[in-house]
């Protein structure tokens, strides 16, 4: 990412701006969640592989308009939680709901939820533009919208090239463009800052803040505390499949630095 693009106002708070830049074919549907109802909720969520619990009795709820960090060491269960929320895997016990429904029950999922799971989810021989077009066709979204997003993530010049020629940061941005195709109300991002240079991380941070300022919701997982500490309002800390703390940043005495102490204290205790 060369710098913060001028078009970050694509998720600005002004309805007029948004209407002109975004097409929202799904916005005529009645909201699935009533006021005050959580956008994301996990209730007693467990996932077992063989004898091992990847996730054990995890419960949390996220309100609209919030940015939440999902923190934990590698292998703590962050990706598993996201996969359960997205209906890619079925829980062993408990419920994973978005907009009070299971993901596969959403009417127009691409217009409600956007997700970036891993930077590797591309066919290496397919161009960035065709990757987005295939998704757009499947979800009834226009090719013009594809071009808007290529512009937003600054991939227009590379859009015709096969993804195998992309850097890790470019793949992250292409993944984000795919997640934003349907102009969703909720973004789930798995380690989105991987491979981004400092300017890219800065841009992503600004983008997410604007996204949430327009009343939308973000859950951003990371194993690197510093990546999310400046962006999020609260963090869920997960370790070895269990949710071990929920921390609101404004309740901490000196923000990020004491969060780091909490995080290390919580995730390193009882380790051999």
């Amino acid at each position: 990412m060369s710098g913060p693009p001028s078009s970050t106002s694509i998720v600005g708070v002004h309805d007029d701006d948004r209407q002109s830049v975004l097409d929202r074919p799904g916005s005529d549907q009645a909201p699935a969640t009533g006021p005050g109802e959580p956008v994301v909720s996990a209730r007693g969520l467990s996932k077992r592989y063989g004898d091992a619990f990847a996730l054990e009795d995890v419960s949390f709820a996220l309100d609209a308009g919030t940015i939440t960090g999902f923190l934990g060491p590698n292998g703590a269960g962050k990706t598993t939680t996201l996969r359960l929320l997205l209906g890619l895997a079925q829980p062993t016990a408990g419920q994973a709901l978005v907009f009070a429904r299971r993901y596969e029950e959403l009417e127009h999922p691409a217009h409600r939820v956007g997700a970036v799971l891993e930077s590797g989810d591309f066919d290496p021989g397919r161009s960035g533009r065709n990757h987005l077009r295939a998704l757009a066709l499947a979800t009834g979204i226009s090719y013009a919208r594809v071009e808007q997003l290529l512009e937003l993530v600054e991939l227009q010049a590379a859009a015709h090239r096969p993804v195998r020629t992309y850097s890790l940061g470019m793949r992250q941005r292409l993944g984000l463009a795919g997640a934003l195709l349907g102009d969703p109300e909720l973004l789930l991002l798995d380690e989105p800052a991987n491979g981004l240079d400092p300017a890219g991380v800065h841009w992503l941070r600004g983008f997410l803040c604007q996204f949430a300022a327009s009343g939308r919701t973000v859950l951003i997982s990371s194993h690197v505390l510093a990546e999310v500490a400046q962006t999020v309002e609260q963090v869920l800390i997960i370790d070895r499949g269990r949710l071990i703390a929920t921390v609101r940043l404004d309740e901490l005495a000196d923000g990020a630095s004491s969060l780091e102490d909490r995080y290390l204290e919580l995730t390193t205790r009882d380790r051999p």
Binding site: L88, L106, P109, E118, D123, A134, L137
Partner: protein, 249 residues
Amino acid sequence: MSGLLRSELLKQRTTRTSLWLPAWMAGLILLVVLLHVFSLSFEQIASSDGQLKVVGWGTSIGALFASLLGAMSITAEIRHGTIRPTFLATPRRARVIAAKLRACAITGAAIGLFAQALSAGVEAAGLAVRGIHIELGAGDYVQLLAGGAGAAAMFAAIGVGVGALIRSQVGAVVGLCVWVLLIETTLIGNAPSAGRFAPGASAGAIAGAVQTQSASKLLAPALGVLLLAGYAVAAATAGAIATTSRDVD
């Protein structure tokens, strides 16, 4: 045309492997048909039956490559992880499988048609070089082309089912090749009473010929259609059930 079908067709023509398939297939047909036309004795290839057996390689190779296309429409997505965005866009996974079946049946029919036309053309050219008269009539060619296309469309559906069940790209490709080129050939050669009910032999029954076999050992065309359609439905259903019930990694 539905958006999902258009999406699958776009994925098909923007994947490198599926672009290579017709080229590999053309090379294989060229090699196999020319080898037979020039190595068989005059007696073996002068008759209409002998000429049908050779052009029947187009049936089995076309069906094989159509099934590979079908299998790779799923295994390539699993291999590269694009199955995740695909299922996020369309969480009702059976709809994705249905779209893949339609897309692969369309392209599979084209592959079958191409395979059959190529093998018939190459055989005719080879026979002309050897100065042997072509005994096949217009009726034979019509059945070869239409039957080859239809059989390949159904084989593409079998491939989608097999790919969804096996999930591994290499496993599905090797499995389908071994089945069509090795097991089917052995079955029809050594136990024709059972072998003629196999999928490849059913394709031959529809097209009028399959590798090394002509109509005499095969089922009636209508029976071949029913049987092969049964295999296709069974494989596609099994693949759809496996896809909807299993977690995506």
